[in-house]
Amino acid sequence: MGIKRFNVKEEGLQRFFGPLEARVMKAIWEHQQLTIKQVHELLDDQAPISLNAVMTVMLRLTDKGILRKETTGGGRNRVSFFFPVQSEEQFIVEQTRVVTEGLMEDFGPLIVNHFIDQLDSADPELIKKLESRINELKKQ
C-alpha cells in the first residue's frame, strides 16, 4: 500500500493523507461502500466541493491500493462502488509500523541499539522453545 507522505505534526488520518483524501477515507470507512457521487454528496454537505475533485482523489486512492473499485451492471445501469481495502484501525496500525520501520532503517546505524533488530531472521524453533521456557517460568 503506497503511502509516501507522513506528517508527524498532524494527528490521526491527516498524518498519512492530504485534507481531502482524509475526508474521503473517513466517509468510506463510515459507510463501507460508496459511489463517487455518494461521496461527493456527503462531502458537499459539509463544505462545497466539485465532483471532479472528489473523483480525482478517489481514483488516486484506488491507484495507491487503499480503495478497491467494483463495477456492477451494464450500459446505463453501470455503477462503480468503492470499498476500503483495510479497516481504519488496520490501516493506521500497518502504516504506523511501516513508517516506524522506515525510520529505524533510516536511523539504523545511528540508533544502533533498537530493541527489535533483525526480527526477520528469528528462528521458528527458538521461538517455540522460548514460549515453553516462559510457560515454565510462569509456573515457578
Partner: protein
Amino acid sequence: MTMPPKLRWALGLNVGLVSWILVQMGVRVRHQLSELPEAAGEPGIWATLRSFFTQHPVMEQVYNVAILYCVVMVFVHLGTQGRQQVKLLRYLSLTRDERSSARWTERLDADGIPVIVIREQAFVAMACGFFKRRIVISTGALHRFSEEEVLAVLYHELYHCRAYHPLQTVVGTAISRGMAFIPLVRDLSRYYEIWMELLADRYAMKRLNSERPLATVLLALVQGYVKQPYQRELGSVSHFAETAVNYRMEQLIHRHTELNIQVTNRRNLLISSLGLLFMMVFLLGYCI
C-alpha cells in the same frame, strides 16, 4: 556487566587490526607524499592526486584506490550519521510526550540519562545519542506491556547508553565499511554488536532478578513480526541465522549456558589474510 574473556580478545584483536591497517596506510601515504614531484604552478592537492594515480605501477594504484575508498567511506558514513542525528532529534521533538517522559525518567532514575516517550502506536525502544545519551520509548510500547516488562526494555537500553554503544557502533560501522577489503574487521564488529545485545539483556535480567519480563517482550515482538504476511514470503522457511535476536533467545532459554558465537568463517579469514599480506608487501618492499 563484565565482558566475557572471548569478547575481550575479539575487541582487542579488532582494535589492534584496525590500528595496524591505519598505520600501514599512513606509512604508504607518507611515502608517496615524500616522492611527490615539484609541480610548479599547480595546487598541491591536485599534484598529489595526479601523482598517486598516474605515476605508479598498477598494483600500487590498486592500493591507493583502497586507501581513498577507506577515507571516502568513513567520511560519507559519518556525514550521513550527522544528518540522521538532526532528523532524529526533529522527530523526537515533534512526537515527545512531556509528562510521560518526566514520569519514566524519574521511575528509571538513570543518573541523568533521560527517557523520552514519543507518541507512536508502534513499538519503538532504543538508545541513541553519541555523548548526550537518551533512551527513547513509544507510547505504543508502554500501552502494550506491563510496567515490569517496560522496565526490562528500559534497563536493556540503559545498559547501551551507559556503555556508549551508539557512539561505538557508529565509529565501528564507519571503520568496517571503509575497510571492506578486510572482512575480518566487519566480522569482529558484528561479533561485538551481538555481544552488546547479550550483555544488555543480562543487565536487564540482573536488575529485575528474572528473565521472564524480557523473554515475554521479546517473544511478543518476534511472534507479532512473524505473523505479518507481507513481511515474509509465503512458504519461506527460516533457519538459524547468526543474528543477535537468535542468540538473545538462546540466552533467555538457557540462561546459564555459555553461548558459542561464530566470529568469522574460513572464506573471510582467507580474504583478510591475503589483504593484509598485500599491504605488508608494500610496506616492506616500497616504504622501508
